[in-house]
Amino acid sequence: MTDMVGFDRDFSLGELLSTRDADELCRTLTALLGTPVAMLDERCNAFGSAAHVVGGCRTPLVLELEPVGFLEADCPQDSLSGAARTVRWGLLSRARLRMVSDLHLEAVRADYAKLQQQNEALKASEAKYRELAATLDAKVKEQIKIIDERQLQLYQAERLASIGQLAAGVAHEINNPLGFISSNLSAAERYLQSLEDLRSVVPSTDWQARDLDFLFKDFVELLKDSRVGIDRIARIVKDLKGFSSVDQPEEQVVDLNAQLETLLTVLVGQKPPSITLSTDFAPLPPLLCLPGHLNQAFLNILQNALLAVGDGGIVTVHTRTDGTSISVEVTDTGPGIPDEIRARIFDPFFTTRGVGSGTGLGLTVARDIILAHSGTVTVICPPHGGTRVTVNLPV
């Protein structure tokens, strides 16, 4: 565009007229006026082959303000002016044509450049949409999967919430009678001791006739059994309370390694000596959590692991971090979990232990606590045996 000569430039005689045209014009005018006619350019040099007319008069050919050339002939000025007007008319037409065609060219080039720009923009947006169309299907499927997962989670959460409410209610209702049964049992134990004093008062014949020795012995046994039963009920109620998270403590920033360390010290005292409990801790970033709850969760997982391994079994706790999340791995050398059971291990009240020894809430509680910390828990049983429970918690 910059190299282009504008449509609005001044045209010289040579641009408007070829010398051949000029010669023909001069010949025609010479015949018409009956005297030689010459054409000169704007500097009064002969234009074309017609030579200067010595002694002739000149008349300018003006298109705008100044002459682009002259006609020269030895004839009356009037006749020459008339001839000049005719020639000018022709020159003007040519000038107009040149201007219009140059302007048209300029405009077309400008429009073309603009169209090309628009075309480029369109191409870019078309490519974008093409790409979008190609990936749309995959993206929709991906979104559907996410929505399905969320829905499942929501359903799970609601189910757990209603079970939790029920559990909290039951726990509360049981706790009261449990309290007075427990204290009544203590009183009964004391009374029994007092009653034993009757031995010195009651004649031994009567004592033996009524087999009171056995009675007192069995009575103590009965009370002891009842105490064990009460304690078991109390533990179940406690688990139910944990499951329903009735008492929410404060969130704290803790070092999870230290928490696990404390937890393991407690467990070391409870586990059979033949089982090895080992740790492999990596330094962890501080974690904002409910420490009591997390302890409970890891306790439940670890208890399961300890119960799973037999004599000489090993339970290992690994901690790792990638900066954005913390992972805690509990592996055991036990028999692993059968496939048909693995899907149900987190279900409330599902247990493989005999009636009375497990509540079926341990892993449920653990999972709920971890979910409440926006974490995940996965259970894998590798082909070579054992079980690996991995807990991931975002930092």
Binding site: G6, D8, E64, V100, L103, A107, V108, A110, D111, K114
Partner: protein, 217 residues
Amino acid sequence: MPEFERETNRLTFKLVYYGPAQGGKTTNLMQLHELAGAQMKGELMTLETQHDRTLFFDLLPLGFRTASGLTIRLRLFTVPGQVAHDGTRKAVLSRADGVVFVADSQRTQATNNGESFQNLSENVARVGLDFERLPLVVQFNKRDLRDILSVEDIHERYAGAPWPLLFASAIDGRGVRETFTELLHGVWRRYADDLGLVTEHGLDEASFVTAAGGEAT
């Protein structure tokens, strides 16, 4: 920047009449051809029209010679106002040294005026001119018609604008020369120093304006 040809000692200003379609740009030039008292005045060249509407441009050449022998030419162009001819409009606007924006005073044309003015500012940038420094005069034409914006309204709307506002009725020649005069003043102020018109050619603003066909009022 005006074109100076050393060889012929000639200085040419290109002045462009811009504005919405059928606002009276061609009429301005036709009247100016009658009214302008320039030393040299060419014929008004009207290129092709369609139903009386400019398709390419009109050209009115005016000029004068200074005592120093310099020829000063002013070539006045109109652009086609119709929206469709933007490419042509832009080409005509290229290399302009000054612009008269001819607005239509009729109330119904306010939007067209606005769009055309917007188009002017965009095209000025596109052809590489500086809108801030380009001499520009705004003429509200068609004051002879009914249902036009009042002078007060127009002054109010343009209160923040730096350009001179003029009112005209080009059809009967009113305000046409005044508008041109105002543009000549603007052109003088913008280029006189750069071109050494005072120092090298002994011109002054008043004689420049008068000789170029403006009217000192």
